[in-house]
């Protein structure tokens, strides 16, 4: 009986046996990576991969009534104080010398005060603003925990259960579209009324707009009203030079709008 007992494992043997165990780890972690069906809101009811939402805004049609901003606050329980907005309306007054005067008292919810008589107006218009749901969103890029993300239907969302409240995304947004929710202490912003659009409804601001200055729809879908809007208007996006690839398209926006 010359049974050889090896008590020592060489480095080579150790690594080899570890590599054998490697496929097993995949087996254990498999349940942690949910398949497509697990992620769907209701199985079969709504497929987010089939949508890519966006919005069009017709500056010529906006009358600055501020109903959109007000409806948004109600629909999404945005704090009523005047420094928290998911959407707001700006008034631009262009003087003959090309100078632009801009204001947005209470986001335009209470309307706009009369201008003084000594302000000479060359032209004037209203610009509704909201999150641009950028395809190349800087806020998504900087979020340290991935609480801000682009959903598969192209909407930039914040997971309020996950956000640590560092406010880096607020700093990174070039459009001032984000704020820190004073009670929840997390970043908050426009969701295109995600709870509505996934049920086939349109966002609250679009619903209440009396002049149809806001058009909600989908990029790349021929039957979408947005398609027609983009086709028949000269479109600009805000701060295009920053390469954020916004998905809120403005028709008739002046070069002064930023």
């Amino acid at each position: 009986m010359n049974k050889k007992v090896t008590t020592k494992t060489s480095r080579r043997e150790f690594i080899l046996s570890c590599s054998k165990a490697l496929p097993l780890t995949g087996f254990f972690f498999f349940p942690l990576s949910p398949g497509k069906s697990l992620l769907a809101l209701e199985s079969g009811a709504y497929d987010p991969t089939k949508h890519n939402y966006a919005m069009g805004i017709d500056i010529h049609k906006c009358i600055g009534c501020g109903r959109c901003a007000s409806a948004c606050k109600q629909e999404n329980e945005v704090p009523s104080e005047p420094h928290f907005f998911r959407t707001w309306v700006e008034r631009y007054v262009i003087e003959p010398n090309g100078e632009a005067l801009v204001d947005s008292p209470n986001g335009g919810i209470d309307g706009f005060p009369d201008l003084d008589n000594d302000v000479e107006i060359l032209r004037s218009f209203f610009v509704p603003k909201l999150c641009n749901h950028c395809s190349n969103a800087p806020c998504v890029q900087v979020c340290p925990v991935g609480a801000t993300f682009t959903s598969r239907d192209g909407v930039v969302l914040v997971d309020e259960e996950y956000c640590v409240g560092c406010r880096y995304c607020i700093q990174a947004c070039p459009y001032g579209a984000r704020y820190l929710h004073p009670e929840k202490k997390v970043a908050d912003k426009c969701t295109f009324c995600y709870h509505r659009i996934t049920k086939g409804l349109i966002p609250a601001c679009v619903e209440v707009c009396p002049t149809q200055a806001r058009v909600f729809g989908e990029v790349g879908l021929r039957s979408s009203p947005l398609r027609r809007f983009i086709r028949f208007n000269d479109i600009v996006v805000l701060k295009a030079s920053l390469n954020t690839k916004p998905k809120v398209y403005y028709a008739g926006a002046d070069g002064e709008v930023r």
Binding site: P82, V164, G176, A177, L242
Partner: protein, 401 residues
Amino acid sequence: MESIITTVAGPLQDVTGYIYPNEFELHWELLIVLYPYLTGLVAGAFILASLERVFNVKELKPVYRLSLLSALAYLFVAPLPLLAHLGHPERSFEMFLTPHTQSAMAMFGFVYAWYLMVVLLLEIWFDYRKDMVIWSREKTGIMKYIYKILLLGAMDISKKSLLFDDKVGKFITIIGIPSAFLLHGYVGFIFGSIKANPWWSSVLMPIVFLFSAIVSGIALILVFYMITTMFRWKKLDMQCLNKLVEFLIYAMIVDFSLELLDFIQRLYESEESINILSQMISSRLFLSLIVSQIIMGGIIPLVSLVWARFGQVPNEMRRIVYFIAAVLVQVGIFSTRWNVVIGGQLFSKSLRGLTVYKIELFGLEGLLMAGFLLLLPLGILFVLTKILPPWPDAETKLEQS
């Protein structure tokens, strides 16, 4: 023009021009000013220590250990302002568990842990090991056990093992230099990579941060060295002081030139944002940028240091000038951090208006908290020096074995 401004301002009297409604609140406040200030001191103090260790600047031997311990004390405190500022501090560990790899901020935890665990703690441990072994034999009571625990059972002080300590220590310092650059350059990158903010967005940001860190670190150690030596009734090593001041002068010149370059470049490029930024500098930031950062914290100390170091000045006078200049430099660097962090939020991203920052006194982000966080490292340093005395005369001589 005036009329529309008052209507815009309405309840917000301190706002001039137009700011986006969500910009009314400043999001990064005093605590975030502290964060780059504190990490800057860490990086600066460490780089100073590495001058002695790696580049063999023997004159700096008396402050080598003091700089390491100061770096450690400040590093302990550096993440606290970040933590206190979070909306949900209890979720902060998510940055470690599920970091978003594209985010500059997500890397903070890793850069920090690397620097603390791999660089600073290890270097200090290897540097003090011999002394700790001897102290653990000589001291009595609780201190004896503190050293025994800190030593983790590594009691060998044979010639061979001490040589090993020295080798490893040097190796860690060599790794430590790029790590210190990484630590603070990275903090600069957090700001410099925000393209939405023209005041921050600059490739020079990490480099400017780095050199201002070196400036602040050297000045801090200069102050610490002078104060601690005074309170221990010892004589200041004038050679060491002179060397410190020389390095401080070089670092200040580089730092100042870089910032000037950044300034000239912006002015010359004259981009869209230049109007609002110049307005901001001449109104909101006049005190903190022109007066505090450039004149009081830059030009005056630099000129007086050059005069005191290279002029025909008696040592007594030299020391006084060195001390006052180093304190002024601290004020200047703090203002630099202030101007970056707060300045970057005083103008609207619509580039049409300016807002103001009002410091709170109480609360997690208030003045008192900031004061506490500034004093806390001093307390930690005090405790550290009790356990690991960094003084040149405290170093043990190895008895014949």
